[in-house]
């Protein structure tokens, strides 16, 4: 029996693989001769191709942003941004054509370290070049060309996705109408890089890592990936979010210390719910994500700093940007706290750009950008409502565009 799909879901979707033959020159100086990008789209592209939105994913995301893949699997969870994408939702598929892709270097179908190198017939592994946000955006621009989209109505992303949005506004200043940057930062801080380095060390120190050539040994650094994800996951939550999640036992001042089996074990096994939760999260992630991709994408994050080309004055980077900006942060996000978003806003003000900024009260930490928080979703809806009006206004005038 087919599963029940909510009316505001994009429904059953299937990804499409796009192959690119034109070599991609990377910021590092290296070149990817040819590559594939795995892409999902939702909604219909209009006649003048003015209603397209590009959705950029974060560290562990992929092209599957909304809807379902399997019509029979009742337990299947929808795509990672399903709360925002669908008919009548904030990114309204009745009006917009949404494009979501797995970035280069990822492990969900686009070319990455786990892909087979045509030159050797073996997975690239550690030989896969380091990809930067700039390189991603370049590959996304080629995807736009392929789809016939000269200008995105909007480019939207949270966290590392928000960094891609910034890079779009810098690299292709006339190819987007609106830039929506959520829970991001203009560059990583030492603390951010430190967390990434701990994650990398966890992976590379796993005996099953085999210097990144674990594919040849039919294994993968499961323990390392688990650890990396556990560390990462803690930084995506807030103290309060964890207290709520693991403090269901109605004892005042519980602080999220629910016990797994109702008592302490006086051993080094799992005592608290939070421990088993992290273990479970880490384990699930280790099955689905490639360790080399994880290493690579944490480097992508670390390297992001568009100001380097502009004498460390980021406002100069945005001087040519013609888009309007919407920046959103969440109060309990300590990975990229509101101050980091305000840096972006102030930079844009300095560059005399049109910018709106919201600081959304939310307990969910960095992960808030993935959650259906009413004020946040309403803001996206209100903002994009104006974008819909812009598009339909343009369509009404046949000579425009």
């Amino acid at each position: 029996m087919a599963k029940r799909i909510p009316a505001d879901s994009v429904g059953i979707v299937s990804p499409e693989l796009f192959h690119f033959d034109e070599p991609l020159e990377l910021r590092s100086g290296r070149v990817i001769e040819q590559y594939d990008l795995m892409v999902e789209t939702y909604g219909e592209l209009n006649a003048d191709k003015s209603n397209a939105i590009l959705v950029c994913h974060a560290l562990s995301g992929d092209h599957h942003a909304a809807g379902y893949h399997n019509p029979d699997d009742e337990k299947e969870k929808p795509g990672w941004w399903d709360c925002c994408i669908g008919p009548g939702k904030a990114f309204d598929t009745n009006h917009f054509f949404i494009v979501s892709l797995n970035n280069l270097g990822g492990c969900a179908g686009s070319t990455g370290p786990s892909s087979v190198d045509p030159a050797t017939g073996k997975p690239f592994g550690p030989d896969f070049p380091i990809i930067t946000v700039r390189d991603w955006v370049k590959s996304q621009a080629r995807l736009a060309d392929r789809l016939g989209i000269h200008k995105w109505a909007a480019v939207i992303g949270g966290s590392l996705g928000g960094m891609q949005v910034m890079r779009w506004a810098i690299s292709y200043p006339d190819r987007l109408g609106h830039a929506i940057i959520i829970a991001a930062a203009p560059k990583l801080s030492a603390q951010n890089i430190a967390f990434n380095e701990i994650a990398r060390q966890s992976i590379t120190n796993d005996p099953d890592f085999h210097a990144g050539r674990y594919y040849d040994f039919n294994t993968y650094p499961k323990r390392g990936l688990m650890l990396a994800r556990m560390i990462g996951h803690v930084t995506y939550l807030s103290d309060n979010a964890m207290r709520d999640k693991f403090g269901k036992d109605a004892i005042e001042g519980n602080f999220g210390r629910d016990l797994r089996s109702g008592k302490l074990n006086f051993s080094y096994d799992v005592d608290f719910q939070v421990e088993s939760y992290l273990k479970y999260k880490g384990e699930t992630f280790s099955h689905s994500f490639d360790a080399n991709s994880y290493l690579l994408i944490t480097k992508t994050l670390d390297y992001f700093d568009p100001a380097v080309d502009y004498n460390f004055d980021l406002s100069k980077a945005f001087l040519d940007s013609q888009c309007k900006f919407l920046v959103i942060s969440f109060t309990s996000d300590w990975r990229f706290p509101p101050e980091r978003s305000r840096e972006i806003v102030n930079t844009l003000l300095k560059a005399e750009k049109q910018v709106s900024y919201l600081e959304v009260e939310a307990d969910q930490g960095h992960d808030a950008f993935l959650m259906p928080i009413p004020r946040y979703i309403q803001a996206l809806k209100s903002y994009l409502g104006c974008v819909i009006e812009e598009i339909s206004g343009k369509e009404a005038k046949p000579d425009a565009g």
Binding site: R342, V345, L349, Q354, Y357, L358, Q378, C386
Partner: protein, 196 residues
């Protein structure tokens, strides 16, 4: 449109950069945008108002003007506007200085505390004045720094502020003979257009 805003819009020229401190639902900026093609920027802290600004397509920044405006560069706006908010801020004098720093010209409107009905209430009844301009109870009012037209004139004089226009109106944006005769006594709302 509110009486004070109708007068203010005469001083906004096409394509100006306008910063509206406490922009509310953004309707005034939206109006200026469609009528005069201004570059708009509003500051607001109320979440519902911020959402209305986004709906209206107005640029709005969630920021508390009481904390700091240091992120706005000097002379980066043609006009900085503060409508019916001066009496609610923590340090009106510092805010006025900041407005003069950020904007080439400034506009401030505020309820005149020296309006005769306010005076009468205080003198005859001994109560804190209430009126349509000041509808709050003393214990539950956002208005923490009441000022009069005379007070603001003094501030401008002390700070070498040049008043370009000054007018008083009632709620129907009428200016009467009495108001012109003695603005500080008969004016309900004061409107100042100034620069340095």
């Amino acid at each position: 449109m509110r009486a004070d805003l109708k007068i203010i819009q005469q001083w906004i020229e096409p394509d100006m950069r306008v910063l509206d401190l406490g922009c509310g639902d953004g309707s005034f900026l939206a109006h200026l945008k469609s009528e005069k093609n201004i570059f708009d920027c509003g500051l607001e802290i109320d979440p519902d108002n911020i959402n209305l600004c986004l709906q209206a397509g107005v640029n709005v920044i969630e920021q508390d003007m009481n904390k700091s405006l240091a992120n706005f560069r000097s002379d980066s706006f043609d006009t900085v506007l503060l409508a019916q908010t001066l009496q609610t801020v923590e340090r009106p004098d510092i805010l006025v200085e900041e407005m003069l720093r950020i904007g080439k010209k400034c506009i401030i409107t505020f309820p005149n505390f020296a309006y005769w009905r306010h005076r009468l209430k205080l003198v005859s009844q001994g109560n804190m004045p209430q009126s349509s301009a000041l509808p709050y109870e003393w214990y539950d009012t956002p208005n923490i720094h009441h000022c009069t037209i005379k007070d603001f004139d003094t501030l401008c004089e002390e700070r070498n502020i040049t008043i370009l226009h000054k007018t008083v109106v009632d709620f129907n944006h009428r200016s009467s003979f009495l108001m012109n005769l003695n603005p500080n006594l008969f004016g309900i709302n004061a409107i100042y257009h100034f620069t340095r």
